[in-house]
């Protein structure tokens, strides 16, 4: 994966109010047979976007031209279930850079971060407010300032800091990933192996 830094995002958003969206919905297992990371966007939410004859399902919000953008707003416990990173790849490949949710499943959050897909956590109240507003006004612009870790929506007079530790923030701003960091401390890792501590 080429690391892609993410600084400021100004975009409309797509509302997906369902809760507990699991990775089997995000990308069904039958699409996991590829051995590359690219191209999974075609299969994102496949069983929602297409009916079982392979035709577009007009009821699915992702098929409605009114809503588009780089930001997905979702109901709580997004990304639960299987650890498949294909879920994060599919979302990123489809064109999203940010998911706003009140509660992310653990492994999914890590997978998202490792792919420079921002899991932006705000309170459930704010999520509900955003879902309602974006559903009613699809052209609403959301702004995310990575350096300040700030989410703003001018129409709602919303300026909200979101949690992100400074290590990850600098990864996003500079396009560095965890692997690069771990490789840089390899001597320390070897040293640790030579002097393994015992349980106390």
């Amino acid at each position: 994966m080429t690391s892609k830094k993410l600084t400021n995002i100004i975009s409309t958003a797509v509302p997906l109010p369902a809760e507990n969206i699991d990775t089997d919905q995000i990308i069904p297992a039958r699409f996991l047979k590829a051995t590359h990371r690219e191209g999974f966007g075609n299969h994102l939410f496949y069983d929602w976007r297409y009916n079982n004859k392979g035709a577009l399902n007009p009821d699915c919000i992702l098929n409605q031209p009114a809503w588009s953008g780089r930001i997905l707003i979702a109901g709580k416990n997004f990304g639960c279930g299987s650890s498949r990173e294909h879920a994060a790849w599919a979302i990123k490949d489809y064109g999203f850079d940010v998911i706003i949710c009140s509660f992310f499943a653990d492994i999914f959050r890590n997978n998202a971060l490792n792919n420079f897909l921002l899991p932006l956590q705000v309170s459930e109240e704010v999520v509900q407010q955003l879902l309602q507003t974006v559903t009613a006004y699809p052209s609403l612009i959301l702004e995310i300032d990575m350096a300040q870790t700030l989410l703003s929506v001018r129409e709602l007079n919303l300026h909200l800091p979101f949690p992100m530790n400074s290590y990850k923030k600098s990864c996003f701003l500079n396009g560095h990933d965890d692997l690069a960091y771990l490789l840089s401390i390899k001597e320390e890792i070897k040293n640790f192996e030579r002097n393994r501590p015992v349980y106390k």
Partner: protein, 471 residues
């Protein structure tokens, strides 16, 4: 985030965690050293490809163990895999393991099987270790007193390259279960009960230690079932302090020599939460309150006791009502309906949750001399080659076949339906696996999670029933 200052005692989690910290990043995660890394064909190819592109070698190949399990067929395994994409993934795994000198227990290998079944069975999983795998049910290995958890493919790549991961210390929850289980209640029922009580995100951000005399009295197989599904509550993993049951289980395992066992034993015996250790959250459960469980919805938390009715819509939290209605519509069920008596089409006994030898024994004991209902298709897919062999030796294979069950070859099979073992549209399948998500077992398939005993009973009567009436 570092462990909180605790002068009173340490939790089992912290004892293991602290011994694996290479360093801590200021205002960031910790660098956690990984002892064992299991890989399989579906979540590893992109990791190897990426390492090759960057020309990074595998750092500690002897700490990596590979198996093919997720997409392989469960019939005619001696023949080439028909599905070209699956064949490609398995082929790529074989090549990657050869190139990087990683031990592979691939298709046809006498030790082949589902990753979370073979790790413990071969003695690769041992108390006090940190264990990861690109599969969320890696939590299974926690039954041996390990920090074991699932990771994504980028993390698979990190572990291959450096044997380390960046991790934040989770919060620790202790679930203490005491008392005698009712007859016919299995460890699968315990965990389904807990998920129904805590919900599918009730333990997000936590690692769970399971304790109490009910847990102590369980076999290793039964403990694995509980740790396996601990993540369905959102937990990062689950663990159980090792004890005599654990140590006995680990005797005479393929990749754990007697000398090593003896050398490690005194260390393993230090692995428990100190009596005064404090937890971020504690829950107590009375084992007698648990009855055989069955799910009615599309996540593992939507479960009830076998004799209970599906909850009424008005009793569901307002914000969850829409999803609730959707789930019941998907399942073709109604609020207030009894699960008991529901006509079913398939029974799947398999997966890393319930396909160990003990599970097969429970099923065989129960169905001995009985016949499966005519309209039911019943698949039993052993968790590993060794389980399959032992089942034949013990005569379990014959009992199952006589009862009309299809005994397949090992693999993940209908747990995630990546191979051809799929449940047809609209059909009901009572499954001993771990997830009843929409489409998990096939497009529009309807999954009902249960214990091996409840699944076996459904296979015999052709509908959901309380196995205890047939005992």
């Amino acid at each position: 985030m570092s462990g909180k200052l605790n002068l009173m005692g340490k939790t089992l989690f912290d004892k293991i965690w602290e011994c694996h910290i290479v360093k801590e990043i200021e205002e960031g995660p910790s660098v956690l050293y990984i002892d064992r890394h299991y890989i399989h064909e579906v979540t590893s190819p992109q990791a190897f490809r990426s390492l090759e592109e960057k020309n990074i070698p595998v750092f500690r190949p002897h700490q990596v163990w590979a198996t093919a399990d997720h997409n392989i067929p469960t019939q005619d395994q001696h023949l080439p895999i028909k599905d070209t994409l699956s064949a490609q993934q398995v082929q790529l795994l074989t090549e990657n393991c050869r190139k990087h000198n990683i031990k592979l227990m691939g298709i046809g290998h006498p030790f082949n099987g589902i990753v979370h079944v073979i790790g413990p069975e071969l003695g690769i999983t041992q108390p006090g270790m940190t264990i990861v795998c690109g599969d969320s049910h890696t939590s299974t290995h926690g039954a041996f007193g390990c920090l074991a958890f699932g990771i994504g493919t980028s993390e698979v790549e990190m572990v291959l390259a450096t044997q380390c991961l960046l991790q934040h210390r989770p919060k620790i929850m202790r679930i203490q279960i005491d008392g005698q289980l009712q007859p016919g209640v299995l460890s699968k029922d315990i965990i389904l009960y807990l998920i129904a009580r805590l919900s599918t995100n009730g333990a997000t951000g936590y690692f769970i230690e399971f304790a109490g005399d009910t847990i102590r009295n369980l076999s290793m197989e039964a403990r694995m079932t509980i740790c396996n599904m601990s993540i369905e509550m959102g937990a990062r993993g689950g663990l159980i302090a090792p004890d005599e049951t654990t140590f006995t289980y680990l005797r005479n395992r393929e990749f754990l020599s007697d000398e090593e066992w003896e050398k490690q034993l005194p260390i393993w015996k230090t692995l428990y939460s100190d009596p005064a250790a404090s937890f971020d959250k504690e829950i107590r459960i009375n084992a007698a309150d648990i009855s055989p469980m069955i799910t009615y919805g599309t996540n593992p938390g939507m479960g009830v006791g076998i004799g209970d009715k599906i909850p009424l819509l008005k009793d569901v939290e307002a914000s969850a009502q829409k999803d609730y209605r959707h789930a019941l519509a998907y399942m073709g069920l109604n609020e207030g309906q009894a699960m008991n008596g529901l006509h079913i089409d398939y029974v799947f006994i398999g997966s890393c949750t319930n396909a160990r030898i003990e599970d097969l024994r429970i099923v065989a004991d129960f169905i001995k001399g009985k016949k499966k209902s005519e309209h039911v298709t019943a698949w039993i897919v052993p968790g590993s080659k060794q389980v399959a062999e032992q089942a034949e030796q013990e005569g379990i294979g014959t009992i199952l076949r006589d009862a009309g069950f299809q005994l397949r070859q090992p693999g993940c099979s209908a747990c995630l339906a990546m191979n051809e073992d799929k449940i047809p549209e609209g059909k009901y399948c009572v499954s001993t696996s771990n997830r009843n998500f929409e489409g998990r077992q096939g497009i529009n398939a309807r999954t009902i999670l249960a214990s091996p005993l409840t699944a076996a009973a459904a296979a015999i009567t052709g509908h959901i029933c309380d196995a205890r009436m047939l005992l």
